[in-house]
Amino acid sequence: MRDVAVVSFAQAPNLRADRERNEVEIVMPVVREALDSVGLEQSDIGFTVSGSCDYLTGVPFSFVMALDAVGAWPPIEESHVEMDGAWALYEAWVRLQHGDIDTALIYSFGKTSLTDLDKVMSCQLDPYTLMPLWPGGISLAGLQASAMLAAGTVSEADMAAVASHSREAAQGNPAIPEAEGPADVDELLSRPRVAHPLREHDIAPSTDGAAAIVLVAGDRAAEVCDKPAWISGIDHRVDTHAPGNRDLTTCPSARMAGERAGAGRGGIEVAEVYAPFSHQQLLLASELGLGDGVDINPSGGALAGHTFMVAGLARIGEAARRIHDGTASRVLGHATAGPCLQQNLVCVMEAGR
């Protein structure tokens, strides 16, 4: 395998409703910042790939318009996934393995304030037995939480502790300027349930935003970045589609992706996992083997501000940032898609090649 590193990461502030800007205007400064920080221009990029969801705007091929943010003339080699940007990063990593180019730009965006995200989540489901009922993402996550609570694999206090930590951590993250204020576990547990068994703090607020990452392969990575975050393992796996056909108290696809990406080899110092619901962070920590010594979601995570299609790419970027700033030497970024953690991607990065 060819050595590939994350050399830069930028993200827009995660805002409940970015009313002033359209998608291109949100993406453009983020891409500019990601390129500027490593001294590259769009003309230096060998492959550009984006991740977004046409259902948010309700317009087919809406992602094509976002290309204005990078400029597609003269023609560029470009691709798109109708998924979180983490899967666009995976495609870029595979593309760089071909060996003929050294650089890739990945960006993703989500303007969820244009629509009703919970309704869009129903549109992802089996169109015969699930979607006609319109269960939505929050209720499906509530089912998973109830199964985990009944099985005793989590408690409501455990879930509140995840939310409390997320709020505390997000206070120090300028990318989540509208994070809810800090609250301790007892205070959170005293609040009403909004989707029994879930309380408001168990559910990530939907936000608008964008993120960009630059990947560089081989020796060139060290030329543009002092401390490249070398990808030592990356893998993604998927569980069966129907939530009712799975044991929702486990997540085999996350476990398998983690094992294949090398999460189990130990030494992970910082992990950024994409958990838009509090109980999912606990399940992921268990399936990825993240023990007590691992700093999980020091950014505040998706639970503090959840930009659909961006949160996974941002988890990889936030984890890589800990290598870029020299505070960690082995980190993990995780992304998820589908109902109840159906699909999972794990990217392990290290300071050394």
């Binding site: 259902y55 309700g58 629509t115 309704k119 869009v120 549109c123 169109p127 015969y128 037995t129 699930l130 006609p132 009922l133 319109w134 269960p135 209720s139 499906l140 996550a141 509530g142 089912l143 998973q144 939480a145 109830s146 199964a147 009944a150 349930r193 909004v194 989707a195 029994h196 068994p197 879930l198 069966t240 129907a242 939530p243 009712g244 056909n245 929702l248």
Partner: protein
Amino acid sequence: MSRKAETDENKGILTAPYVLEYSYTRSTGPVLGRFLSGLRDKKIEGIRAADGRVLVPPVETDPVTGEELDEFVQVGEVGTVTACSWLAEPRAEHPLDKPFAWALVQLDGADTGLLHAVDCGSAEKIEVGSRVEVSWRDERHGFITDIECFRLVGD
């Protein structure tokens, strides 16, 4: 779909209705088609997976091995709740127009959960382990919504 702009009476903001849908007509195939036709006749059929489990709703291929499945198994109309979540504010498109519980129901004879609504009055009345039974619609057309909802056994 109406393109006529409407004025928000409170804020003077222009709004317009927007319908998000793909109006495809689909063929449901030999497995789901049989399941959905069965609902029309008040019959619920699952399919036996490679490991012996009965999957409801049925799927064409085994979720673990990928092999084709073809052994249909009829299951009961009564089952056990394996997961539940309360919905306080139903939308127009939801199965019931009053607050209800979403549940995964493991029907007697099945090994997996069927997602549906349970009309049980309040969140406190349902829990993992509750027994529920199908409430059929009078007019059935071969859709998952031929099951109007589930109700607690004895309610």
